[in-house]
Amino acid sequence: MSFPRQLTRGLRDLFRPTARTRELDEELQQFYDEAAADASSRGLAPDEARRAAQRQLGNPSAAREQVRSFGWENTLREALADLRFATRHLRSNPGFATVAALTLALGIGAATAIFSAVYPVLFQPLPYPHAGRILTVWNTYQGQRFEAAFGTFRELQQRSRSFDAMAIFEPWQPALVTATQPERLQGQAVSAGFFHVLGVAPALGRDFLPADDLVNGPAVVILSDRLWRRQFHADPALLGRSIKLSDTNFTVIGVLPASFEDVLAPSAEIWTTAQYDPSKLTAFNTWAWGDHLRIIARLLPGVPRAQAADELNAIARTPWPQFPRPRWASLRQGLIVDSLQHDLAHTVQPALLAILGAVFLVLAIACVNVLNLVLARSAQRRGEFSMRGALGASRLRILRQLVTESLLLAFLGGSLGIAFALAGIRALVALSPPAMPRLNAVAFHPAAFLFAFSLTALVGLIAGLVPTLHLTRHHLQSGLRQTSARASRGRSFARRALVVSEVALALVLLVSAGLLLHSMKRLLAVDPGFEPSHLLTLQVQSFGHRFDDSSPSPGAGSRARWQFFRQALDAVRQVPGVDQAAFTSLLPLSDAPQVEAVYGARFEGDPPQAGRNVFRYAVSPGYCQAMSIPLRAGRFLDDRDTADAPHVALISESLARARFPHGDALGKRLKVGPDNQPWFTIIGVVGNVRQTSLALDESAAVYIPAQQSWFADSTLSFIVRTRGDAAALAPAAQHAIWSIDPTQPIVRVLTMNRMRDRGESERRFVLTLFETFGLVALLLAAVGIYGVLSGSVVERHREIGVRAALGATRRQLLTLVLGDGMRLTAIGMAIGLLGALAASQALAALLYGTSRLDPATWIAVLALLALVAALACLLPAWRAARINPATTLRAE
């Protein structure tokens, strides 16, 4: 076969159809002429010769059609004709086309966007080689994950045999003083094996070596590609040079590849070695036994995860004398060992799975709606197909036309769906809570799009074809005879069933959204234990060698720190509009990491091994007053409680009640943090405060004067109670602090109300999605009800007309149609209630202070759905009531 010739001739015929037709006509004419000439040469009379030639030629148009239907270009031409016809058809039914394409696009777009967003968290392997072999190891406190101490890491590292490498990491936020403003960088302090565990090597320079991770070892950093480009103009000569971070010189030894993604700290841009001192492990009151580290480990090839977990827990159960353990790192509650992938996802997994479930419901509703629309169309077009069949179109030809129409619709819906998906992904990323892992890996997921697209397209195709196959086989003739479809009961039953299922699915989504909404309202109504309005918060750092305690006079650094913060506070208090100001080491409802917030506390008289975890607040005098935390007994901290005064503390009501049920906490003593520090005397009991989130009632807290703390916090949160708008005072407050020291970074400048909302952003995220999906479902269900009822009013036009002629009032006709629609709705709601019961069970983990059977929510949702359904019924019902009996009777 000569392929080029096939192609070129085919294309020529395709693009010059008139020339081709003329040529063909000419050739046929010539055939006829030659035949006539031949006949007359055999001696026939002219008109007899013409007749003979005509006989030989046969039907010229049949011959023309036969020749024209040859060749691939002809198949294409027919397909194009089908497409033109389908386009015309959709254009002449804009309502149907718009609703069908939008439904498809909504379903496809929503499903693709959601799947694209959850894929990196739930399904995609992490971006490291053999990522399945990376584990995280946690200490356990009250059954929950808790950070580990360096001593624990060292013991596990030395005693375990299942791992290729094990490493620790903790947050590190050095200040980089640039030409303009001091910038606080996000980074991590890690042990030497950190990048080896992840399986990543620097693109430039070298990885950390064990020698870099020794006490007083070299100060070295590895930069991210982004930081290297942003601050150092991607200068390769930076390697080996030193940069000044927080007043210390660090040598740059490496730059990571641009593709590197740190899933453990997505915003980290710089890494240094943690340089823990193993010789300090013999004493328990050192930094090396503080539980503020996270542990990751890479399994040896071939070692199953469960085996490694068993080994670690066996180590936890059997202490060795050469590895002494303090009370808070006794490992008596075992270790939590998890794959890194699952560990990242475990907090957001229930929410993401709920969202994924919801989007599948939306996709299901979209499919049902498309099915419904197409069924309605094909019911209306029975006459048309019968007519075309009668005019000689083969069944294949009609089917091909239908497939073309379905594909055109699917293509329209699909392209719109891509647009929806892209917009949806952007919105999801913008909306997503800060706790959402792997956000920078969220990208359009083609497989998800193809899945959603083919599902809906297939549904549309089948819905279009099945009734028509049926029709063409049996009813091509009968369809012509009965134009008013009296015998379409079977199909209309199917459509009614579809509407019922749509209502049911919508109810499931609406109940879920309603419960989440109610839960959100309950949560925001929770009293945080302080007054959040008119409260500005700023996080202030203190970096520099003058704050180091290792300088010749011990304690001078801490005093310098105190002086800086105290002067800054005084400066802030001078700002006009400031009512009160104070600072604290720990700010409620902020994203402060647990590790910097929670310390062990032991009351006088408790056994030495007893201890409870409390939030430690090192505060300035006036903190509780500025926050409006109520005093329950005793007195607040004030200016008397200086560094040299007796050590005093306030404790929270819940802690007081737990330890002193008879209300005699005042005057008792406790230790917070290291055991070698003096006792703190309880001088007051204050109200409980929600520290980590509104939903969590973990309120055991100890407030100590910052000056009396056993270490001076380098970072404090300033809180400013304002008389007017809190946000408006932010620039003035920052300038006041910088007037004391312009090199100290000030970060996270937020009003307390903003901070509180940010803390609930994960719930809000889930809620927003469910609300959107619920609304879409409601809309689609309403469209479905409207479509079926309109169709039924058209089909029953005659019957309704006869009823009207027999004396039915408009009101009766209205009730007839309305009742029909509401019956469908009621059945759908009954089925939906069962589904919603099951869904609410799955949702229970996401609810706060709301029963999953909350009657107000359920009743409100049912009422809303019934109302919308009634509205959707009203227009067809009104149309039915206006049917003129005279017209109907005349038509009969």
């Binding site: 010739r5 000419e26 010539q30 030659e34 030989q56 046969g58 040859f70």
Partner: protein, 111 residues
Amino acid sequence: MSDPSTDVIQGTMDMLILNTLSLEPMHGFGIARRVEQVSRGVFKINPGSLLTALKRLERAGWLDSEWRQTDNSRRARYYSLTRAGKKQLEIETADWTRRAAAIARLLRQEA
């Protein structure tokens, strides 16, 4: 796409056309007349099938065509055999001969 009323045996149309054109280039009617004459009216070719077949053979690269004057000075489309067409004719002829001989042998045995 062959017309059921055609008397030409299924599958032999191509061979008949190629064979006819192996003598000299001809126009459509010429081919039809020649086949009818030589077969003494056994085979009749209708123009629809003939022109479709010509188009197919031309696409396959076995025929070329050009418009030129006929003997009685009318314009007509003349078809001629290409080199590939000659080869194809040999293949089809050999194939047909083999099959016809086999059928003839079978029929003799029956008789």
